[in-house]
Amino acid sequence: MRPLTDQEMKIVLDKLANYMTDLKSLIAPLEDGDRYVFRMQKDRVYYVKLSIANIATCVARDKLLSLGTCLGKMTKSGKFRLHITALPILAQNARYKIWVKDNGAQPFLYGSNIVKAHVGRWTEDCPEHSGCVVYNMADIPLGFGVTARSTAEARRLDPTGIVCFRQADCGEYLRDEDTLFTGA
């Protein structure tokens, strides 16, 4: 387990900024004087309290499976891929939101993209190809994705047209249970 380098930190924050607005709140000091930090274990990036990260240093690298919240993993080509486990953090300060109707929740959780017919409402002035967090109508985050069309374009779209490309959904907790937290 190690802190992130300058380059890695930039890549991670860049990805998070696609979905979130207020990044500074991520590293703001907590009431008890503690703060959250980013740590890398193998190829996974974790968002963890500094006190817990310090305690975890006594665990051998190969024995440490996971700590804190896993944000995602660094690919071998140097990109960062967000995992569904990062959803609670993204949902706190989501930049763009899409609410899906009850009839659209199941298809989304089974791994399909969101079609216009399933959208209950969405954030105004949302450009295309920008990250958005997907909620159900009861404001429970279900996953996140990338918008396929801007809001204005999506209005003219037919009901079967894709509005949002899925990136991760809560169904992955079951589907990718074995590889989600630890590398295969």
Partner: protein
């Protein structure tokens, strides 16, 4: 543990050993240069007694530095990528303090904000263009329809005029033909000439 230690120091130790063992191996040019210098100095020591030091200096071969030679960097003994800056810490530089994290955060946020704004602006411009195009197309369609209606109307009027003109002619010349009478009816056509009936007066 022992193995891992040797692996860790793999980069550090053998290089030292190599440098010591293979001094004239030609690994580093600086060593060679130093050797050549020492060789050049040796005759100077031997001919210590002679006063012509200036001649010896002339004999000394000038040693060119790599910069002076202008050798392409990839052709040098130590390739470009291998050389590491001296006095710098080996390995990765981590970001863990809040200040540096904050600076990176600010940079990333500003960059992203700019990107999104430009995206929105572009989308709006495209939308405006699309709207203008749509309005123009609608206008053209309306114009075309109006023109079509106009020509239709004109044609209708022409036909009516023709009909009227034809009737007048027929009545003047021969009176209504049988065909016309069947199509339009006998009442539709009225001749302007009044029919007069004259009776022979009895004497």
């Amino acid at each position: 543990m022992g193995k891992t230690r040797t692996i860790k120091n793999k980069h550090a130790e053998p290089s030292k050993k190599k440098a010591k063992k293979a001094g004239d191996g030609g690994v580093k040019k600086t060593k060679d240069r130093a050797g050549s210098k020492s060789k050049a100095k040796v005759p100077a020591i031997e001919v210590k007694g002679k006063p012509n030091l200036g001649q010896d200096k002339k004999k000394q071969k000038r040693v060119y530095s790599e910069k002076e030679l202008g050798i392409p960097q990839l052709n040098t003994v130590t390739p470009v990528g291998v050389t590491k800056p001296k006095g710098k810490k080996k390995g990765k530089v981590f970001v863990d303090d809040r200040e540096s994290m904050n600076t990176i955060l600010a940079m990333v946020e500003a960059e992203k904000q700019g990107q999104i704004e430009s995206k929105i602006m572009r989308a709006r411009q495209l939308e405006e263009i699309r709207e203008a195009r749509r309005i123009e197309a609608e206008k053209k369609e309306a114009e075309r329809k109006a023109l079509l209606e106009n020509t239709k109307e004109q044609l209708r009027k022409k036909r009516k005029k023709n009909k009227k003109g034809g009737d007048q002619k027929s009545s003047e010349d021969e009176g209504p033909s049988l065909k016309e009478l069947t199509s339009t009816g006998s009442k539709a056509v009225k001749s302007k000439k009044k029919k007069k009936v004259s009776f022979a007066t009895p004497e």
